[in-house]
Symmetry: C2
Subunit: 382 residues, 2 copies
């Protein structure tokens, strides 16, 4: 028994400092010491072999009643928590899932996270979530970090970018990857996606039906397939109504608030204003609303407004927004299950693509039947 060099308080059990193990001094000298008891100490205390302790831990029924009880007592006495790191090294499974999200401040993603975490914990996996801020370089370094940590699989909502080399390399290294919300470009992978075309189409069809024309659309970054799909929905809705689309009314944003703000302002300053705006995600809509407010624009009187994502929910807006809601929790949950099935080998063969259905909820931001054109604007709130 020696007093710990680092903390000066604890006693090291023989298993930590003993004739056969002079090396641990290395880590102690660094000033780290956590006193975690090991399986060897448990075995020693219970007077059994390590193999037996391991068998008790894993619920192997071949352990006799007497020994089992002694081992359990020792575990409790030492407050033993198995070292999952060592276990991972041996069995080559970490029971960790990586989750890479582009914008954690977009409420869409925490919802996905909850769904995924719920499922993961049910199956004993731990979810490691990281945020890329829509930057592909960060996505690269996060993926590298997760890979070094040997996560068993990765849930990925890609940052925009045409180069998927870093993703491809992860996949080729044999790490299962499931795409969430946004598919990786140029790689066929298991995915849980929204039917974005349909979402855009439903929404714009509604706008057209209630009488809007000259509908502007603020899209996501064209590099992102989901952005292009939502735009396609917009185009399809026009096509089926036998209406031409005006390219001037298609504006590219980047799914972040500021771009919504900027583009809305631009739109509102045009000589010919659109009668309605369809915004392709919720964050940009926050920016649009900000612009509306600053310019004293009111909906639905002055302009119709509809958007992807129900991030502000049913709350507090008056009039409320007409939205295309995505089943976010579901998306996370299904993604996680898909990934774990792939890891466990329950799923074989070709990549599976799950398409979830969006829900159009019509609220009062598009209520009017005969939208007014430009006029009737109150002065800006300064």
């Amino acid at each position: 028994m020696f007093r710990c060099f680092a903390c000066g308080i604890c006693l090291h059990a023989p298993a930590i400092i003993s004739p056969t193990t002079p090396k641990p001094l290395q880590s102690l000298r660094r000033g780290r010491c956590s006193h975690m008891s090991t399986i060897v100490e448990v075995a020693k205390r219970a007077g059994v072999s390590v193999g037996t302790v391991s068998n008790v831990l894993s619920g192997n029924p071949s352990v006799g009643r007497e020994l089992r009880e002694r081992v359990e007592a020792a575990i409790r006495a030492l407050d033993y928590h198995p070292n999952e790191i060592a276990r991972s090294l041996k069995v080559k499974q970490t029971y960790m899932l990586g989750m890479v999200l582009p914008d954690i401040t977009n409420p869409f993603f925490p919802d996905i996270m909850r769904g995924a975490e719920e499922k993961a914990l049910q199956r004993r996996y731990l979810l490691v979530t990281a945020n890329t801020d829509e930057q592909i370089e960060r996505e690269q370094s996060i993926l590298a970090a997760l890979r070094s940590r040997r996560v068993d699989g990765i849930l990925l909502a890609c940052a925009p970018g045409k180069d998927s080399g870093h993703i491809r390399r992860v996949v080729e290294a044999g790490i299962p990857v499931v795409c969430l919300d946004r598919a990786a470009v140029g790689i066929k992978l298991d995915s849980v996606l929204l039917d974005n075309v349909r979402g855009g189409q439903d929404c714009v069809r509604h706008l057209l039906r209630v009488g809007y024309r000259n509908i502007a659309v603020i899209t996501g970054p064209h590099k992102l397939q989901i952005a292009r799909e939502r735009l396609r929905g917009y185009v399809e809705a026009h096509r089926e109504a036998h209406l031409d689309v005006n390219r001037e009314l298609i504006l590219e944003g980047d799914f972040r608030e500021e771009s919504g703000y900027r583009i809305a302002k631009e739109l509102l300053l045009r000589r010919v204003r659109p009668s309605a705006i369809f915004v392709c995600n919720g964050m940009m809509t926050l920016g649009v609303l900000q612009a509306f407010e600053e310019m004293g624009v009111h909906y639905p009187e002055d302009l119709g407004l509809a958007t992807f994502d129900d991030i502000v929910g049913d709350h507090s807006f008056y009039p409320r927004l007409t939205v295309v809601a995505q089943p976010t929790y579901e998306m996370g949950a299904q993604g996680a299950d898909l990934l774990m099935d792939r890891i466990d080998g329950k799923l074989k063969g070709k990549p599976l693509i799950v398409r979830l259905k969006p829900t159009l909820t019509v609220r009062s931001s598009t209520k009017t039947q005969n939208p007014v054109a430009v006029s009737s604007l109150r002065p800006a709130a300064l």
Copy 2:
């Protein structure tokens, strides 16, 4: 060279299946095979010893130019990513931080997360975030999971509950814990907290100053110290104005939306309505707004409204909310730095408590100088 039993495609390098290593068949038989190259393979390919490869990886300058280059070439050729799990086992450090949050859907917490993650990545740590949904049992099991994974430290925003036994045990096991936003009950720990009393006091002082009386307060769960502190701010503000507080106007919520909704409805149905409501967090405010809308209540005309947290931000509300804003990003960032300093031993001695200052932002939800009493309600929107 053998074809892999699991995937049937890859060839196993000698280091994986060889005369001296018959055992890997174990894991292959399970159907897992990830082909990750190891330091041994790199060494073999470069014609050097494993020690040399290790030295190259860690940037040890004692490696000669020639060997260094050969090793680097081999690393690139094999797409070698060091196994951080094995490394962790040896050096007894995982470079992972746990982060335990009570409600990831409250935008307050993703903001904290961003701050913490930013700092963590700067110092090569990976942040593992988990959500407890305000349930103490989940907090327990998450802590156990993090402990088994041997995270180097934990950032904790506690779930409400009087029992901190599970937290104490983690601390006693020698794992550094830093409390964020909410302190653990009955344990002195490093913490980054808000000056909640001041936040409540500033806000209610403002309400009183502009003329509100009979101000109702919707608090958080009394089990939580921050909830009691905010309430204390309310009481202090009254005391300094020489006003009595009416216990009937103190209502206990649970920091979640539904409770705000429920309590606001209750308040609005009273024979004597308060003239203003001070809500102790942002999620509950969403509920309150919902109730207002359903009952056709308008602020500031019918009722003044002020709240902790700026979760809806400057956006979209008209009139906008008077809020006590918390420096969320900062909170996460400082918490992470504090934790890592403690881990690295840069910080010695007593627990450190950092108190951040809230900012009162007065907007139009409390604008009126002489609030109207009950009357003048428009009919509910159905």
